[in-house]
Each structure stands twice: as structure tokens, then as C-alpha cells.
Point group: C2
Chain length 187, copies 2
């Protein structure tokens, strides 16, 4: 039981953070597919929160500590609130209300940017998993979505293999972008 709730908390946190990154990506690149995924993920978060609440009750019976259980429920709600905010951001994209260009300009000016780029045949990344590529530790860029033709991989992990032709959406420091773009083109 403990192991399971631990996994659920982890998934809740990771999903909420992915949703924020995806929501900003959808906004920056006017991408409704990504925005729809944010809405899908909200459903996942909702179910996780429910499971955590139930598990918190079971734990409180086990160790006779109501306060700890209530703190967990509260944390789960707070994290779900982050997911909800991401959904609202994505909703702006789905409603076809283009926000003032100033918003995009300001996000593009951030120290943390979201890059979008295709992977060339000659790319160092082609046919490597994200783990093998050491992309994050080499450039600081974190791939949040991979678009392969009509399919999408959201929140890829170290085992996700990158292929030439993939379009990568990645979040990271402005100074890491140049190196990242180089790697998607060649060595």
C-alpha cells in the first residue's frame, strides 16, 4: 500500500509539472493537440487525487495519525490546483482566443524557454533513447513532448527512442537552446 501511494504522489507531481510545461508550449506554438492533451491529463490528475485521498485514510488507520493524513490530502489538493491552472491556460488555446502577442514575447524572453525543433537525419539524437543521449545533462534541455507524424509522446522518459523526423518540444535554459538545436541537426 505504502509503495503504491508513493507512486501515485510521484505521478501526481510529475503530471502537474508536465501539464504546466505543455500548456505554455500549446500557447507559444498555437498547438491545439498539445492543449487537448493537457485536458486529458487533468482527468488523470483527478483520479490520482481521489486514490491518494482514499489511501491517506487507510494510512491514518494504520498509524493512528490523522494530522499526517490530512496534510497529505491537502498537498494532493494543492498539486491538483496546479494542474487545474495548467488546464485553464490550455483552454485559452482551445477557445481560439489568441492572447496579445505581448504574452508570447514575454515567455520567449524568459531565462527558461520552450524550444520546438525537428530532428534531422544527421542528428546526434536520431535512434538514441533520451537516456543514451544525455541531452538534459549536456544541454539542460528537458524534452516534454515528441511529435512523430500523427502520433505524440507526452512526457517521454529515458527509454523513449528519438527518430529522425521527430519534432521535439523541450524546456530549458536560454543558454542551453543553441547546443540543443545543434544536436538536433548534427553532432
Amino acid at each position: 500500500m505504502k509503495e503504491k501511494i508513493e507512486e501515485q504522489f510521484l505521478k501526481l507531481k510529475d503530471t502537474s509539472e508536465l501539464m504546466i510545461d505543455l500548456a505554455y508550449s500549446a500557447l507559444l506554438y498555437d498547438n491545439k493537440e498539445i492543449a487537448k492533451e493537457v485536458l486529458e491529463l487533468e482527468g488523470v490528475v483527478d483520479k490520482l487525487n481521489y486514490k491518494i485521498q482514499r489511501a491517506a485514510f487507510s494510512l491514518s488507520l494504520e498509524d493512528q495519525n490523522v494530522n499526517k493524513a490530512l496534510a497529505m490530502i491537502r498537498l494532493a489538493y494543492s498539486i491538483e490546483a496546479i494542474a487545474d491552472a495548467a488546464m485553464e491556460i490550455a483552454d485559452v488555446v482551445l477557445r481560439d482566443i489568441e492572447p496579445h502577442p505581448i504574452f508570447k514575447m514575454s515567455v520567449m524572453d524568459s531565462d527558461v524557454i520552450i524550444a520546438k525543433t525537428p530532428v534531422k537525419k544527421s542528428s546526434y539524437l536520431a535512434n538514441k533513447t533520451l537516456g543514451q543521449s544525455h541531452l538534459m545533462t549536456e544541454t539542460g534541455m528537458w524534452v516534454i513532448a515528441v511529435n512523430r507524424g500523427k502520433t505524440w509522446i507526452y512526457g517521454p522518459d529515458e527509454n523513449t527512442k528519438i527518430k529522425s523526423g521527430d519534432v521535439l518540444f523541450a524546456r530549458g535554459p536560454r543558454e542551453g537552446e543553441k547546443e540543443f538545436l545543434k544536436l538536433t541537426k548534427g553532432k
Copy 2:
């Protein structure tokens, strides 16, 4: 005017993201000082949101586009909701309700972790600015707070100089942590 609102949006987004990272740091390391800073930053976010709302109105008069202005106001509210969620997480720390250890365990298990470590005299980072150290592009780790004796620097930038004895809180990929810890000790 346009430039100013752009800066405010940027600051709103960056501050809300910093607040999330700080809130999790406060939780992981039972640190009330960091938790208090999250509450302080909520005040900053609140003021920024108000300014953006007023600016959105002015812009709508300039370009006669109410929809764009409303979308901006909506976005600013969504981003403030992220900040509010961070505040709730920090509040758990301030209320001295220690959540179930399972929560910490799950955050520590994430692909994205928050490390805390002192900078040794022999460290490669000592007496370098964060920009000079290329820490983010070399390890993927992003410094979110610096604790120097009784003072704190939250959300340091590339011009922040790291000194030996500083305690760094940094967010990044699990695989980047080892390299980061090495750099805080020596070359």
C-alpha cells in the same frame, strides 16, 4: 507601455515557477525560511497581476481588441492560481504539520529532484557567477536558492556570485545531481 507589461508577464511567470520549486524545497528540507519566502512572493504575484489587468485594459483601448485583453487577464489569473497553489504547499510547512514521509520519499524518487548542498572552498563554483559556471548547461541543475549565513538569495540569476560556504538548493534531473555535487566539492 508594451514593454512594461511584457516584463510584468515575464516576472509573473518566472515568479510562479520559482514559488513551486521553493515550496517543494521547503517541504523536502523542512525549511520554514523558504516557506515564508513563498508567502512573500505571493504578494509580489498579486501586485503583478493587478498591474497586468490594468495594462490589458489600456492595450484594449489602443488596439480596439477586447478579446485579446480578456485572454491576457485570464492568463494572468491562471498563473496566479499556480502561485496560490505553491503558497498552500508552503503553508503545510509553516503549520508544522509534517506530511507523511511517503510524500518526501515520492518527491525524492522523481526524475526531477531538488538537491541541497554546501559549496566547499575547493569547489569549481566558488567565486564564479552562475553565468560563468555554466552549471545549468553542464549538469542540468538550476539553482533556485542560495543560503549564505543569515541571508538568502531566492531565484538567483546569471550575475549571482557563488561563494564557498553557500548552501545551494537546485532543481534538476536525477542524473545531473551527481555531477552537481562533484562541482560543489571540487573541480
